[in-house]
Symmetry: C2
Subunit: 322 residues, 2 copies
């Protein structure tokens, strides 16, 4: 492993310095180019942390679950990193204050690093920033990364595509099984959690999910891995059966380690490169590159948008770097 | 206006032929290049339809609302197009059958065109396809386009960014005001609907929303337009106060027409061109262009992903078209 200058920011990150980690994550959040520059010397250390994502509809108790899971993992002395990924708002980029506060319960424990993150970047910025933050935590020696997303949309899918184990959290009532299947949320599940297992309808929900999994309905991600998502009934708030979830994550991890984890992770990195490259191209060509102005003029002249886009792309491909 | 050959597919589209419209939307859905080619001759006809988007959390009654709204608009003899945008599933691209069935109620009316659409494309494909489908409906002479999205994520935001009036639908209980604000959903609202106004908690939800709007909390889109989103309490299922929603849409439309609709729409087209251009570039450079292979090799050699992306982008920008 290459030597990293211990007095550099990278060096402090490798040593597990929380201030260094916080700074790198802020850079990741803001799309600051210093992130890539500082992470590069320590890049070979990425890949040791296990990355679990917790997703599910609003109100399913994801934050409570993440908190309970972190507690359980701490009991086995794992270093835990929590990243609460706030909704991508392309309009304000704002995270509501509450999201930044609610997980403070664990923050006095030096073995837990907690961070909430909003996307201020362009489209796809949330997934990029979340991957970056995980990489930084990984280098900093965190063993178990827990990513929590709000909502069930494309950005969340993108974030979840980048983690090792996706935990889809549902609860009886609102956001129940049928709605979840409608929203396509089961498709990303490696582990299904029925939270609030003490309230009415929980058994029914678990049964519905078992049926869906048995029928191989909408479990595309797991099916690709040759894996059948287990259904874990628990109560995050009461602390019931959190160990069942830890155990399910462990079994999924063992399964992947036997069946092609390296390949999966490599494919994710290739996809990351593709996206970052296109982002770079978009930024450099569009504004400073003068393409925006060309687009505006052509549209004002009444040209159809596809013709304009095609022409601009051809211009770039011809090497006519404007 | 340019003459369009009436026997061509474009010509049949301009004449309002439903088969031609259905074919163009299928092409849009599948990212088929024939879409752009066939729409181009009729491009100058785009811009007459009013495009309303209906969004909100799962279970808020969006489909029922769209159905009721379509009925009301039909009563004034408007031609109505309904586009139900299914969740973007990057895993299967699948739409659940139910979504394709549930709006059949209106399908025997020749003044209503109904279509459900899933994204099979790459990232951002859903928004692209939805815009295309709206453009096709617009050319086909549809007066009022109603877009319904499932969920509240980035893809839905992207779709909503492309419509004229965004109707955010909430209902008491699950997916209520606080959850909605957490999910950033109010930020896109031009009109707020409290659906299921007959059930408990509806008045409270309406009051919460009024407070949020009055405090200018999270209403970024409307605020930019100098518009205060009205709150319309109705029951889509019972048909109560649908006219209140029609009236609110009309007021928003009049406001935009007075205050810069053309400019808004132009900005949306510029953004569309940017995205389509980047998609083109991604497709041509990545696979056939050989960049994927270069990326794979560099990653396998241990290079950090940002370095690899940077190098590939620089290669393209230098005009070294591989």
């Amino acid at each position: 492993m290459p030597v990293v200058d211990p007095s550099s920011l990278s060096g402090r990150l490798v040593a597990g310095d929380r201030g260094a980690l916080a700074r790198l994550i802020s850079w990741a959040e803001n799309g600051d180019p210093r992130f890539a520059a500082e992470l590069a010397p320590a890049w070979s250390r990425v890949g040791r942390a296990w990355r679990s994502g917790v997703t599910g509809p609003p109100g399913a108790g994801k934050s409570t679950l993440v908190n309970a899971l972190a507690g359980r993992l701490r009991a086995t002395d794992k270093r835990v990193g929590i990243l609460a990924v706030d909704p991508t708002s392309p309009f304000t980029g704002g995270a509501l204050l509450g999201d930044r506060i609610r997980m403070e319960e664990r923050s006095s424990d030096p073995g837990v690093f907690i961070r909430s993150m909003a996307s201020r970047g362009s489209h796809g910025g949330l997934a990029r920033a979340a991957i970056d933050a995980c990489d930084a935590m990984d280098v900093a020696g965190i063993d178990e990364i827990l990513l929590e997303t709000v909502g069930v949309g494309q950005a969340e899918f993108d974030v979840m595509s980048a983690v090792d184990t996706v935990i889809v959290t549902l609860c009886p009532g609102a956001g129940d099984g049928v709605q979840a299947m409608k929203a396509g949320i089961l498709e990303v599940a490696d582990v299904l959690v029925v939270n609030k297992c003490d309230i009415a309808g929980a058994d029914r929900l678990a049964t519905d999910l078992e049926d869906a999994v048995a029928a191989r309905l909408s479990i595309a991600r797991a099916a690709k891995q040759g894996w059948q998502p287990p259904i874990v009934s628990l109560s995050a708030a009461l602390g019931n059966n959190i160990e069942g979830l830890v155990e399910a994550i462990g079994r999924h991890r063992a399964h992947l380690e036997r069946s092609g984890l390296d390949q999966l992770r490599r494919a994710r990195r290739v996809e990351q490169v593709r996206r970052v490259m296109l982002e770079h191209l978009g930024e450099r060509l569009w504004g400073a590159g003068g393409l925006r102005e060309l687009a505006e003029r052509a549209l004002a002249a009444g040209d159809p948008p596809y013709d304009v886009a095609e022409r601009l792309a051809a211009r770039v491909l011809r090497g006519a770097n404007p």
